[in-house]
């Protein structure tokens, strides 16, 4: 993701690869070598890449769980309130509080809340909104290119060595970018 700082310039080293195995390998090595991986771009979800990049697992399941529970709780309360408390009406002689009958709707509402809220949360964490202008390294990223982006943070950063590393893993193309 392209976190840009308008104030100071940002130098990145970008390597383009063509194969799943290559990108996995190079990412691991770069990380072992202790360089800071800005991001990796891929046309599909390459398995194991998250471990290679050393990413934390997503915390979205938590959102899903909480909102699901919230939805269910709200619905149970609402159904009880409307049928047994706000205006109790004798329906077919059924008890005021017909809990079993409330289960189906409760379940549906739980799923609805959990599902929709998770997706919304996903949009928020990955800063998605309709019509957002995407930052594209290379249009082929959504087709058949894997891109590894390294940020030049400190003096230890050695472009030459990295270029070599990249080419060892059949990088099709390596370039340095300066943004301001």
């Amino acid at each position: 993701m392209n976190r840009r700082h308008p104030s100071n310039t940002r130098r990145t080293l970008v390597g383009f690869f063509e194969d799943e195995q290559d990108i996995l390998a190079v990412t691991q090595e770069v990380r072992r070598a202790g360089f800071k991986i800005a991001d990796v771009f891929a046309p599909y979800a390459v398995h194991g890449l998250d471990r290679a990049m050393g990413l934390e697992p997503s915390r979205l399941p938590l959102v899903c769980f909480l909102l699901g529970v919230l939805g269910a709780a709200f619905k149970v309360w609402f159904e009880f309130w409307t049928t047994a408390s706000a205006w109790p009406i004798n329906v077919g002689g059924k008890p005021w509080n017909s809990l079993p009958a409330f289960v189906p709707v409760t379940f549906e509402v739980m799923v609805l809340f959990a599902g929709v809220s998770t997706v919304i949360a996903f949009f928020i964490v990955s800063r998605f909104w309709p019509g957002k202008k995407a930052f594209i390294f290379d249009p082929a990223v959504t087709n058949d290119r894997f891109v590894l982006v390294l940020e030049e943070t400190d003096a230890a950063f050695d472009p030459a060595r990295l270029r070599r590393l990249f080419h060892e893993h059949n990088a099709v193309h390596v370039e340095e970018r300066v943004e301001d």
Partner: protein, 457 residues
């Protein structure tokens, strides 16, 4: 490049595709001009849709009396069609969610179109509960909103309310699920498209997808979560639909077996509808290498299994009726098979239980024309299953004095045709403007079944 094929697993995608090739193949159909075949099909579907619209117009302006219903048979085509379409709608989520959770990677070639089908089917289904109301303009009363009637709420004990919530939830979740799956592919199209309408529209809808792996990580998680939610949902929806009948007091409706029976039936009909469509799509859109004979074979097996489940349900119903010692129950089922509407029962049995038995033979499973025919049969049979349950149970219930018969009017038939028109128009548009195969997912399983020694050498 030298590729070694695994002896254990045949590749899911034939023809040794490269990543970009996949993109090409899938997007091709969207980028070339629509074929005459497509136009023909689309116009046909549109005509059917218009017929339905006309029928519904007459219905809304004149009254439910334009249907063949009567004091005894209060539901017939309307609810039959509703349950039928909802059933169809189940395959999509099943394939994309349940098979996903079961790590059935072969699903990737069909899940996109199956999900699309789900959405369109649920749309068709949703129409019927609405127009079957005597006063559809008051349908919003189904929703519990604060009102000036002191607030008068709704009856949460009514299966119809459950239905209302189930269907709307199911539709929303399916839509969201489908859209999620669509995001990366939209980005792909965006990046292929020349500047212009297509690019702007796709880049609007792909929400600025950039393929960053951090996004991919969240994306995968959400996809798993949705799959996890959709799986019980899909089961719950048809269970609730079945409760419309199971919670009633009408012999033939009031049976505890209905929920599993309905869910099995739904998967059954959905699968066969998917297969019907896929067989056409893979031919028409030259996707034989993505939707392979292997896929067809797997789905045929699923159909066979579900067909047996349904058949078992039919038998069990009769057993319970006979065993119950309840004279009304017993009569309901004898009447179902031998009564004035027995023919519909036998149509159902032949199409749903007997026809699919052919799938035992691998050779027949390979004969695509036959498979196509059988899947069509199954769809017909499943429509009649619902008809049998709804109508034959109602038309002769407790008091012989109010027994009656039922025959559809032209309006009802036109409405049914119209719903098919809607379904196919939507599906054809989908084939035209949206990748019918989940590009990114297929790419993910390209390597499946082949291993490459150390990349390019």
């Amino acid at each position: 490049m030298a590729t070694v094929y695994s002896v254990l697993r045949r590749p899911l995608i034939e023809g040794d595709k490269s990543l970009s090739r996949v993109t090409e193949d899938v997007c091709a159909s969207m980028e070339r001009k629509p074929s005459a075949l497509w136009w023909g099909a689309f116009l046909a579907a549109l005509t059917a849709l218009l017929a339905g619209v006309a029928a519904v117009y007459h219905l809304l302006t004149t009254g439910i009396g334009t249907w063949g219903l009567n004091r005894t048979v209060g539901w017939a085509f309307d609810i039959t069609n509703f349950v039928f379409w909802i059933g169809i709608g189940h395959a999509g989520t099943l394939i994309s969610a349940i098979l996903f959770l079961f790590r059935q990677s072969w699903r990737t070639s069909v899940n996109r179109s199956a999900e699309a089908m789900t959405i369109f089917a649920v749309m068709c289904a949703g129409i019927f509960p609405l127009i079957h109301m005597g006063r559809p303009w008051l349908a919003f009363w189904m929703f519990p909103y604060p009102n000036s009637r002191g607030s008068l709420w709704i009856n949460f004990r009514s299966p119809l309310v459950w239905d209302f919530f189930a269907i709307s939830t199911y539709f929303t979740i399916s839509l969201v699920f489908w859209y999620m799956g669509l995001l990366p592919d939209l980005a792909t199209i965006r990046d292929r498209a020349r500047p212009g309408f297509r690019r702007s529209i796709t880049s609007f809808f792909c929400l600025g997808w950039d393929g960053s792996y951090r996004t991919w990580l969240h994306y995968e998680t959400v996809y798993k979560l949705l799959a996890g939610l959709a799986t019980p949902l899909v089961v719950s929806v048809h269970t609730i639909v079945s409760w419309d009948f199971a919670t009633s007091v009408i012999p033939g409706w009031h049976t505890t077996i209905l929920p599993p029976y309905f869910v099995a039936g739904a998967i059954f009909s959905g699968m066969s509808m998917v297969l019907t469509l896929m067989l056409v799509v893979r031919k028409a859109m030259r996707l034989e290498q993505y939707i392979t004979v292997d896929h067809v074979d797997k789905m045929c097996k699923l159909i066979l299994v579900t067909s047996m489940m349904v058949g078992l349900a039919y038998l069990t119903e009769f057993f319970t009726a006979a065993y119950s010692g309840n004279r009304y129950e017993r009569f309901a089922f004898i009447n179902r098979a031998l009564g004035p509407m027995g023919w519909s029962y036998w149509v159902m049995v032949v199409c749903n239980v007997l026809a699919p038995q052919m799938f035992w033979s691998k050779r027949l499973r390979g004969n695509l024309a036959l498979v196509f025919a059988i899947t069509v049969f199954v769809n017909i049979g499943m429509w009649f299953e619902r008809f049998v349950i709804v109508v034959t149970s109602l038309h002769r219930d407790y008091l012989p004095s109010s027994w009656s018969s039922y025959a559809p009017t032209s309006i009802e038939i036109a409405t049914l045709i119209g719903s098919f028109g809607l379904f196919f128009s939507c599906f054809l548009l989908f084939c035209r403007y949206i990748p019918v195969i989940a590009i990114s997912e297929v790419k993910g399983v390209l390597s499946y079944g082949r291993s490459r020694p150390g990349g390019r050498s």
